[in-house]
């Protein structure tokens, strides 16, 4: 079972893979203790940030009025003061522009204390009166519906998490690796939420969807790592880890690249916020999978505690 050289001739492309591995090999040299410690510190910091500054809730969760106006020849300030003067409603206006389609518009936000749909009607009518060609698209969410949506969102995240935990446990049937995967997913979500808080991205049904999407991606990379290390066929753990992390690196960069392009192109608030949350979630995931989880697994495989691995698959 020696290390026989397989090919005498090496292709240039294999050299690329080789250099990629060399570059990533700093991760192999890292001490498992530090690999566990650093991401835990990041997790704690993120949790602290969340405790102090939780992301603001968007209008679909707390209720409110947004009127988006396209094709209007006015600055946001002009429009806001006109609406204020005409309707007496205290509004906030914001401009947005899409570099690729050239579509631009103004979003007008109004608080929803009572009768939000009446407020939206008044604002839309006022704008249409003065700017005849404007495309006015109101969106109204009643605070009571916001509460329902909130409840649904929390339910969905909790149940999805539990479902994920059960499936992961069934696949690996070993408490330590499964527990680590579940913790990584949790940490990803906490870090993504903290980043949202810092960047001022609102918590909406769309960003809740993104958090759920994150569960899918996290589990992907963590299962890859755990499988490669536990069902190792390479000579050493280091080799197995290196080959897994290079696959993981390819995966993450590809997905991040595609998400970045998506974020660049889209003007839709829904897609923008989904992609931003995913980008930060995936960055957190890279750390949590390839440093934290890898650290735990490397320690675990070397320790005498790994009783169940041999029991699991005799092949």
């Amino acid at each position: 079972m020696g290390t026989k050289k397989q090919k005498t001739k090496k292709k240039p492309s294999d050299e690329i893979l080789e250099t990629k591995r060399k570059r990533l090999s700093f991760l192999v040299r890292m001490e498992p203790r530090k690999m566990v410690l650093y991401p835990l510190v990041v997790f704690l910091v993120a949790a602290l940030i969340l405790a102090v500054h939780f992301p603001e809730k968007g209008i679909d969760l707390k209720g409110g009025v947004v009127v988006t106006v396209y094709h209007v020849s006015a600055s946001p300030d002009e429009l806001a003061s006109y609406v204020k003067e005409k309707t007496g409603i205290d509004v906030r206006a914001e401009e947005f522009k899409d570099p690729i389609t050239g579509l631009s518009g103004i979003r007008i936000y109004a608080p929803a204390k009572t009768a939000p749909s009446k407020i939206a009607d008044e604002i839309s009518n006022a704008i249409r009166l003065k700017y005849k060609d404007a495309d006015v698209t109101p969106r109204v969410v009643d605070p009571t519906f916001g509460k329902i949506a909130q409840k649904q969102g929390i339910k969905a995240v909790i149940y999805a998490f539990i479902g994920m935990a059960i499936v992961v446990f069934l696949f690996f049937r070993d408490p330590v690796p499964s527990g680590t995967i579940i913790f990584s997913a949790f940490s990803d979500m906490v870090i993504a939420l903290a980043t949202m808080g810092i960047l001022g991205i609102e918590l909406t049904t769309a960003t809740i969807a993104a958090l759920l999407m994150l569960i899918g991606y996290t589990v992907d990379s963590n299962i890859l790592l755990t499988t490669r290390l536990l069902r190792r066929k390479e000579d050493t753990i280091e080799d197995a880890y290196l080959s897994a992390v290079s696959t993981g690196f390819t995966m993450s960069t590809t997905t991040l690249g595609a998400l970045f392009i998506l974020w660049l192109v889209s003007t839709s608030e829904v897609i923008d916020s989904i992609t931003i949350v995913l980008i930060f979630g995936l960055l957190a995931d890279f750390m949590n999978t390839w440093i934290f989880n890898a650290g735990v697994l490397r320690w675990y495989i070397a320790s005498p505690l790994k009783f169940s691995i041999k029991l699991r698959r005799g092949k």
Binding site: Q6, L17, Q152, A160, G163, M164, L224, T254, V265
Partner: protein, 525 residues
């Protein structure tokens, strides 16, 4: 390991064949059925309403059919109504989506949903019964085969008070018309074109009186509902608005008149800040004038009095009619049944969320989605090439993703799924995990040759390991998304559906085919 296989053998591999079959099927399904878009792409309005108090599943269904009937006044526009009912709390939500409406129509629709459907039965200008007077027994409708093969009936009972009133006004008036309205435009000024005016005064609305002359429809409307009908003869917008204000109306309805007049009237009302609702109706293609008039007024019938209410003491009454075919007859009966029932469904709906997207914006969203998709695909192609420096890998990875999108869209067309922005996000999610998994497969295939790693596994066992990873992550994603499907109403459902669809297609069709193609292409080296 590198057993040379011909392209032919590859194409005949069942996994590749399956992919090709799915691709062809998807293209066919898209070209025949076409893609349908959600309101956030195609334009339209999405409203979420909540009943005032908890209702049973049965009542909820009743509310929905009645809503469907009442919304049909807006013509053949694309209406979908979905409901979510929580059996534990009795809390329910009704999601109404209507494609291609203007903002004014959207507001009217909202008003309609929030107003309770009021049923009126009117005879010769007198309202003799409203919704609460009418009792319909469960499933008391169907075909009346004794009468004729395509005759239908709906049975109902009137309260004693209503019955007495009916007896008094209708005694001996056989053949006179009986009108049934659900939500007539009470207290409005109705401006109609000459041909519609003529139609309203024609025999179509007079029944078949055996003796005497009933009041014409225009007069009946005035007396019963304070609806003033005016013939359009080039009045200006000012004239019309002045007339409406003078008469103390709260609605102006313009039917079959020039669009500009409607715009003028609307602007005038807006600028004068009047509390008047303005709406505009034009006949739909293939709609005859009688149906058009009925649609504006929300009139069912007119039915014809077939017995003398003064004689006999029957409490059970029957509405009947006939249709060209059995199916249409049953459909008509079902409709009238739900109309009669809706009067007694006294649950007020409250619109808790509304979102309106103007139809002109839809096109730009669609363009954007296509640009975003192509951009993301090119990004994947270049990044994968950058990692492996082989087009042999980059092209199959990117094109498999493209195939996956085509198949997801094909299935969406097949099941008539409305693509909205969350659905598109779901497709992106599925493609993202798809690319990840193709990289896992590729690395497992390359693993045997690259670097210092020794080959202690056969290609087959490497594939098995790759597919263990793929199945495990697919299973978790599907489980996580199923909860979204169950616990969310409206917006995020599309996200869950397309993600699950994409993951399933990936695991069952595209991933196995990609593994075969990659195995073949890499073996050529």
């Amino acid at each position: 390991m590198a057993r040379k296989k011909g392209v032919k053998a590859l194409l005949l591999n069942w996994r590749v064949l399956l992919l090709i079959l799915f691709l062809i099927g998807s293209v066919v399904s898209m070209s025949i059925k076409g893609l349908t878009y959600g309101i956030d792409i195609g334009g339209g309005v999405a409203l979420i309403a909540e009943p005032e108090k908890p209702v049973s599943k049965d009542t909820l269904n009743g509310i929905i059919t009645s809503l469907q009937n009442r919304l049909n006044t807006f013509g053949v526009k694309d209406i979908t109504i979905e409901a979510q009912h929580d059996p534990e709390t009795g809390q329910s939500l009704i999601v109404v989506k209507i494609a291609n409406v203007t903002l004014d129509e959207a507001n009217q629709i909202k008003d309609l949903i929030e107003s309770q459907g009021v049923l009126y039965m009117e005879f010769n200008g007198v309202i003799f019964a409203t919704g609460t007077d009418v009792t319909v027994h469960s499933s008391d409708y169907g075909l009346d085969l004794q009468e004729c093969p395509t005759c239908w009936y709906v049975g109902f009972e009137l309260s004693g008070k209503a019955q007495n009133k009916f007896k008094k006004i209708a005694a001996g008036k056989l053949g006179w018309p009986i009108d049934i309205y659900l939500d007539p435009p009470v207290n409005s000024l109705l401006v109609v074109s000459p041909r519609v005016y003529q139609e309203m005064n024609s025999g179509d609305f007079m029944g078949a009186p055996s003796e005497g002359t009933p009041k014409p429809l225009v007069e009946r409307l005035k007396e019963a509902f304070n609806i003033t009908v005016v013939e359009y003869s080039n009045q200006t917008a000012e004239d019309i608005v002045e007339n409406a204000t003078a008469l103390g109306k709260d609605k102006i309805i313009l039917a079959d008149v020039p669009e500009e007049l409607y715009n003028d009237v609307r602007e005038l009302v807006l600028s004068k800040d009047l509390k008047l609702r303005v709406s505009h109706y034009t006949p739909q293609q293939g709609e005859d004038l009688k149906d058009f008039v009925k649609r504006i007024l929300n009139l069912y019938g007119p039915y014809v009095l077939k017995f003398d209410p003064a004689k006999g003491e029957t409490t059970r009454l029957k509405l009947s009619g006939s249709a060209p075919t059995k199916e249409e007859a049953l459909q008509e009966a079902r409709k009238i049944y739900s109309v009669l029932r809706s009067g007694s469904l006294a649950v007020k709906l409250h619109v808790v969320s509304e979102e309106y997207i103007s139809p002109t914006l839809g096109a730009s969203f669609k363009k954007q989605a296509i640009i975003a998709g192509i951009g993301a695909l090119i990004a994947v192609l270049l990044i994968v090439y950058f990692h492996y420096r082989r087009w042999r890998i980059a092209i199959p990875v990117a094109s498999t993703s493209l195939f996956e999108v085509i198949i997801i869209l094909g299935i969406a067309a097949l099941i008539r799924w409305n693509l909205d922005l969350p659905s598109i996000a779901g497709i992106i999610a599925a493609i993202g995990t798809g690319v990840d998994q193709q990289i896992v497969i590729t690395d497992e295939l390359l693993g045997g040759t690259a670097g210092r790693v020794t080959r202690r596994m056969s290609a087959l066992r490497r594939m098995a390991r790759a597919f263990f990873i793929i199945f495990a992550s697919a299973a978790t994603t599907i489980v996580a998304m199923s909860f979204l499907l169950v616990y969310f109403v409206g917006t995020l459902k599309g996200f869950a559906v397309t993600t699950i669809l994409g993951v399933l297609i990936g695991v069952l069709v595209t991933r196995p085919a990609y593994a075969e193609i990659a195995k073949y292409l890499l073996s050529l080296e």
